[in-house]
């Protein structure tokens, strides 16, 4: 049976459609990623799957239980690490975990055992007695990930688990997440707008933009769609001769020129560079610079949406700020 099943899941807020009818399955034990810019609808999707928001239409199930009709059954099966910190900063780390374990109705002995376990797992045993307000960002995140595991969830939702953390802590958290998924075979759904995070962690990735899935596959297969590596060159002179030869060559799948910069899409790019440079020289052009790039998820994103994730962020960022300002003023 699938851990998660969603069919035409939709959420509208007044006139804004945050999630526009997405359908997908997540098999047990998978590490599933939702990749997309801010405002793409990732958090709204998580909020619906974790029973915090009622879908406007469509449906979803966690472990065979409907997220809007069997909320308590769903809640017993999931753990959630929210995008923003959801800790009580006036309690200690251990007290936050104790609160959580009691809310899930774990008996005293079991509570003690599991709290000890997760504290060790996220390496906070020696900080357990400190008030959370004294914790660093990374420690808070680790405590929250640990907390999400206390009730032994079938599905763990991680909403932007490494947002705003330094590179080292991010690496650390990636390793935890991978280990959890492997060793405890927890199904994990993770949202991120970091390409490398999705690439490193996820078995499958859904690329989300404007509330829709524009692609859903393994990272490798998503990158295959682009048809190979990209070689980009900075070339001076011999434009027409070169463009002509590049267009004629069968192994060049795509060719584009922006001024003196030329980019070629081809397979096994590293084996063709010499040939390309010789060709340029025979056209009387001088090659200033050559770069070889294997396709990244960034390119995949661009391919499917027609814009880069950063362009999109700049737009939604402005839009969000305005909305927040407006919201402030209204209340």
């Amino acid at each position: 049976m699938n851990a998660i099943f969603a069919e035409n899941l939709t959420k509208k807020f007044e006139d804004v459609t945050a999630v526009a009818g997405i359908s997908f399955d997540v098999p047990r034990g998978e590490l599933f990623g939702l990749l997309g810019p801010n405002g793409a609808g990732k958090t709204t999707t998580i909020n619906m799957l974790s029973t915090l928001l009622k879908p406007t239409s469509g449906r979803a199930e966690i472990g065979g239980h409907d997220v809007s009709r069997e909320r308590d059954a769903v809640r017993r099966r999931i753990g959630v690490v929210f995008q923003e910190t959801a800790l009580d900063s006036k309690l200690t780390g251990r007290e936050n975990l104790e609160f959580h374990a009691m809310m899930y109705g774990l008996p005293r002995e079991e509570r003690k055992k599991r709290i000890g376990e997760v504290l060790a797992l996220v390496e906070l045993t020696d900080k357990a007695g400190t008030l959370v307000e004294k914790y660093s960002g990374g420690m808070k995140r680790r405590l929250e990930i640990g907390r999400g595991l206390i009730q032994h969830p079938e599905v763990l939702f991680l909403d932007e688990p490494t947002l705003g953390l330094d590179a080292q802590t991010r690496r650390h958290i990636w390793e935890y997440v991978k280990r959890l998924n492997r060793e405890k075979s927890v199904t994990i759904v993770l949202t991120t707008h970091y390409m490398e995070e999705a690439d490193f962690l996820c078995d499958r990735i859904a690329i989300m933009d404007h509330g829709r899935f524009v692609a859903l596959d393994t990272p490798a297969r998503l990158k295959d769609v682009l048809g190979g590596d990209v070689v980009s060159l900075e070339i001076k002179g011999g434009e027409s001769c070169l463009d002509e030869s590049f267009r004629r060559l069968p192994w060049i799948k795509k060719f584009a020129r922006h001024g003196s910069e030329v980019s070629l899409t081809l397979e096994k790019g590293e084996r063709r560079i010499a040939e390309i440079v010789t060709m340029a020289q025979s056209c009387g052009a001088s090659v200033e610079c050559v770069r070889l790039r294997e396709p990244s998820l960034e390119d995949v994103f661009l391919h499917f949406t027609g814009h880069t994730i950063r362009e999109q962020e700049a737009d939604t960022g402005d839009w969000m700020r305005q909305m927040m300002l407006r919201g402030r003023r209204r209340s």
Partner: protein, 255 residues
């Protein structure tokens, strides 16, 4: 509707820990009633206030009123703590657990009532230093019952407002436009029959009017309505507001 005792207990425990760790909050929220007591009590001590009751000092009259005020503000703060939880994200942590929403509300009411009672009793203890004396042990138990009912009523009202608000900034408005009128209309500071008739009509729908009157009846033995009437009305308000508060909280968006 399942009542989850463990969940109620841990929600209560959390409230207690937060309360005891915020020493400045305990102290700060006692200052306001203390100032009212000292400056109004001493300032108006020698002034004749008609309709107060035979042979009463103004300060005697004032103590139950200021106690009512302490309870009013302290219990309505429970609404503010819901909003803080919303702002600091902890509300989501609570709402995503498999605990019935009714139990969550009951846990909050339990916590809020306890802190409100502590504030009220600390305030009464201070008036003891100013020379206030209670009438007797049995009447004092009745007064405690009134205090609990006042706490329930205004925690309920606080939850109603908190459930429909996104952040704590708007709560200041609630305090100014709802709590202060409720306080002044309740007859906490002066006998209500000194007010124009149309304002007195408003006072009749203010729960705190019956709360303060009941506290006067039980603490100083003087009241406008019979104490049992006050008690019955307060039970009605408390039940109504707790139910409304629960319904509003259950239907509110948690994100």
């Amino acid at each position: 509707m399942i009542i989850n005792g463990t969940a109620i207990a841990v929600l209560w425990l959390r409230e207690m820990k937060r309360y005891l760790r915020a020493k400045s909050r305990i102290f700060g929220s006692l200052l306001q009633p203390l100032f009212f007591m000292v400056f109004l009590g001493l300032g108006f001590r020698k002034m004749p206030v008609p309709g107060m009751g035979e042979g009463l000092d103004y300060i005697q009259f004032l103590v139950p009123g200021i106690l009512g005020m302490t309870l009013l503000f302290s219990s309505a703060m429970q609404g503010l703590s819901v909003l803080w939880d919303r702002e600091f994200g902890f509300l989501k942590e609570i709402m995503v657990t498999p605990v019935s929403r009714t139990s969550i509300v009951l846990g909050r009411i339990a916590g809020g009532t306890t802190t409100t009672m502590i504030q009220g009793l600390l305030m009464l203890a201070m008036t003891f230093l100013l020379g206030f004396r209670i009438k007797g042990a049995v009447l004092f138990l009745w007064a405690l019952a009134f205090m609990v009912l006042i706490a329930f009523t205004f925690i309920g009202i606080g939850l109603i407002f908190a459930s429909r608000m996104k952040d704590s900034q708007g709560f200041g408005l609630i305090i100014n436009f709802i709590l202060f009128p409720l306080f002044f209309l309740s007859g906490a500071l002066y006998p209500l029959n000194n007010l124009p008739r149309w304002i007195r009509a408003l006072a009749l729908v203010d729960p705190l009017t019956y709360g303060v009157d009941g506290l006067r009846g039980t603490l100083i033995g003087v009241s406008v309505h019979p104490v049992l009437i006050d008690f019955a009305v307060m039970i009605g308000f408390a039940v109504l507001m707790v139910i409304l508060g629960t319904v509003f909280f259950q239907t509110s968006e948690s994100v």
